[in-house]
């Protein structure tokens, strides 16, 4: 059992709505990718930066800001907070900027079908 359709259909091609939706669909995927991939890279780099600092900048990370609170501790807590911020950002972006486009494309496909 598979979710793939049989692939034996002969290509007819050339229906306007289909071309249009494909082009617009490519736009949607571009929009997804220009957000999703830089975002993933940014959050990986942010963790890497912390590891780098912890390894090579002992002095900086051990700088005391107040009492027992060091730069390293503040950065650690910021990582925690930033994880939630990144998560929230993505959900917001997807709901506001991606879903409407996807809905429009679907509507057009359905019109083309009728």
């Amino acid at each position: 059992m598979s979710i793939t359709e049989p692939t034996t259909r002969t290509p007819s091609g050339g229906v306007w709505a289909e071309v249009q939706s494909s082009a617009e669909f490519a736009g949607l995927r571009r929009r997804l990718r220009t957000f999703a991939f830089p975002m993933t890279a940014a959050f990986l780099l942010w963790y890497l930066l912390y590891v780098l600092l912890a390894d090579y900048a002992h002095g900086f990370m051990a700088t005391r800001l107040a009492g027992n609170i060091t730069v390293g501790l503040v950065f650690g807590l910021l990582q925690f907070a930033s994880t939630f911020v990144i998560t929230g950002c993505y959900v917001w972006y997807a709901n506001r900027r991606l879903d409407p486009v996807a809905e429009r494309i679907r509507a057009e496909i359905e019109e083309g079908r009728r």
């Binding site: 259909r9 669909f25 709901n95």
Partner: protein, 586 residues
């Protein structure tokens, strides 16, 4: 004793719910459809409940005791993995309708060979994930009730396979959700109690670690694994019958199962190949894997494996299909990050307290039991016993929830993808798989639970992660490319793990790259998949397959009733998008 009042009720309740689950499936035809209306909060609790295994409940704190606060990178990776999953996989995976990665593989690329390879990968990941769960059950039981190691392993195997063979758990999202909140309570309440019970002196030591060099009191150590002790000063120890014997200075082999009582004030011997808790480097927030002296590489390797591996964990992916649509799958992943964040605030507390109160577990090779060993150190009365019981119960809940989910996808992969058969075959497979895992877990007592689990992540990151990321985001992926990339990733990661387990130990950066292969095996798998795909032509219907992944269904669209009893059964969806996609093909 502790078995009776901590574990028996838990197993009984799980069994009862399992039986009820079967009844509900038989009588309520709408039950499965209703389960797709699960709200993101409940569903994310279920995801977290299935995800928080013995590695999270016990393993992280154990590694903090042994290796230092750098071990907290494990939970960071375990949580951050959900961000990668959220951004790259969650919603398209849900829209695909595929319940498992083998389904997705065949659905996106229509290649039965790819499906079988994916099923094999599920077996490898499932094995690497299940063995440490069973092993930890054995270790915890022998710590709290002095039973031999194998007893706990066998109890674990029996409990899980009987529950599954009776047929429950499948549709019971709410059971997993309940399990999450249960685990959360059983983890947080004892942590708060411990912090209040220990005196200010212990709290002070917890934040200002000193190396574990002398035994502060008469300390019994039950060695779980054979070790070589480097004894620095001759010391008279007593065995469990009270007979004194002299340990002369120099290397002293100690057999597994031996029990020695070290007198107060004597010097702590070193374990060959390990650094003692609290020493220099313990406080550094980096992971020095295998004491190889490359903490940066070690930390990055673990982060890479856990972050990219999460999206390919078969038992977690299944859960996302109980969301009604892609949008709520996305919200589920986002909420999961929050719920896991709350849980992972606490292993660090157990870890630093364990370093002060039970550092001798590092000699015994049983730091994974630090969490359940703590209450007895703080309170010898009924309260200590009660909290030991609570934590043991939580640890069993952790390992039961994860094992049930994993054993089901493993059995599903065998009986649906590899050797197709009916429901009876599925049930038999469950028992056979459980026996196999028990047999594998028996000799695995000496390997840290988090290490083994991270290997499962490394294999997932080197196989399923490229398949999912490229399959969802790159139209030109071809079946041949996916096959080649996954084979290379599987051989590289599993081969490296085999070398670590069976070959003589390596040193330096090579040791890390073999013990934690993600930094090179993941790029290698991605590159193979890209290059082989570029040499071929994508199938004609690849646009249609992509459309289905990225366009949501309208709410309330007609959906076929589906049968979720088989984890790998894929739902047929006859929506407008699907019909349109079909037209694009034809």
């Amino acid at each position: 004793m502790i078995i009776a009042f901590a574990i028996a009720p838990l197993v009984l309740v799980t069994l009862l719910i399992g039986v009820r689950g079967v009844a509900a499936m038989r009588t309520t035809s709408d039950f499965l459809v209703a389960s797709r209306q699960v709200s993101p909060l409940v569903n994310s609790a279920a995801v977290s409940g299935e995800y928080l295994s013995a590695a999270s409940f016990l393993g992280v704190a154990g590694l903090v005791v042994k290796d230092g606060v750098g071990a907290l990178w494990y939970p960071v990776g375990f949580t951050a993995g959900y961000i990668a999953m959220l951004v790259l996989v969650a919603a398209p995976m849900r829209r695909s309708g595929a319940l498992t990665v083998p389904d997705f593989a065949e659905g996106r690329l229509a290649s039965p060979a790819l499906r079988r390879l994916a099923a094999v990968v599920v077996l490898v990941i499932g094995g690497l994930y299940l063995v440490p769960q069973f092993r930890t059950a054995g270790l915890v039981l022998s710590e709290v009730s002095s039973t031999p190691y194998w007893v706990g392993v066998v109890i674990a195997g029996a409990a899980v396979s009987i529950t599954l063979a009776l047929g429950g758990m499948r549709a019971a999202t709410y059971v997993q959700a309940f399990q999450f909140f249960l685990k959360l309570c059983l983890f947080i309440v004892p942590a708060v109690w411990l912090m209040l019970q220990v005196g200010p002196a212990v709290r002070d030591q917890a934040v200002h670690p000193v190396e574990f060099t002398t035994f502060p009191r008469d300390t019994p150590v039950v060695f779980r694994v054979p070790v070589v002790l480097d004894v620095r000063e001759p010391v008279t120890v007593r065995d469990n019958r009270g007979h004194p014997s002299l340990l002369p200075a120099g290397p002293q082999p100690v057999a597994a199962g031996q029990s020695l009582v070290f007198p107060a004030g004597s010097a702590v011997p070193r374990v060959r190949g390990e650094s003692p808790p609290g020493g220099p480097g313990w406080q550094r927030p980096l992971l020095d894997l295998r004491q190889a002296g490359h903490p940066l590489l070690g930390t990055w390797a673990v982060l890479m494996a856990t972050m990219l591996g999460t999206m390919g964990l078969p038992h977690v992916l299944v859960r996302f299909n109980t969301s009604p649509d892609g949008r709520s799958a996305r919200r589920t992943a986002a909420l999961t990050v929050g719920l896991l964040g709350i849980f992972y605030l606490f292993p660090g507390i157990y870890g630093v307290l364990g370093r002060v109160l039970v550092p001798q577990l590092y000699l015994a090779g049983a730091t994974d039991t630090a969490v359940v060993a703590l209450p007895a150190q703080v309170n010898q009365g009924w309260a200590g016993t009660l909290f030991t019981g609570l934590l043991t119960s939580g640890a069993f809940a952790a390992f039961l929830a994860t094992s049930l989910g994993l054993l089901l996808v493993v059995s599903g992969a065998i009986s649906h993808d590899l050797l197709p058969g009916g429901l009876a075959r599925l049930r038999a497979t469950v028992v056979v798989a459980a026996v196999a895992v028990v047999l594998l877990a028996l000799p695995a007592a000496g390997i840290d639970v988090s290490t083994l689990v991270t290997w499962a992540f490394a294999v997932a990151a080197s196989t399923f992660s490229p398949l999912l990321v490229l399959g969802i985001w790159w139209r030109r992926l071809t079946p041949a490319g996916a096959l080649a990339g996954m084979s290379v990733g599987l051989l590289a990661s599993a081969g490296a793990i085999a070398v670590t387990l069976f070959a003589p130990p390596l040193h330096g950066a090579a040791a890390i790259l073999v013990a934690q292969p993600a930094p090179w095996s993941v790029p290698l798998a991605f590159a193979t998949m890209l290059l082989v795909s570029l040499r071929g032509r994508p199938p004609a219907w690849s646009w249609a397959a992509m459309l289905r992944l990225h366009l949501d269904e309208p709410p309330g669209a007609t959906r076929d009733r589906s049968d979720l009893r088989h984890s790998t059964r894929v739902r047929r969806r006859s929506s407008a998008v699907r019909r349109a996609a079909r037209r694009l093909v034809g």
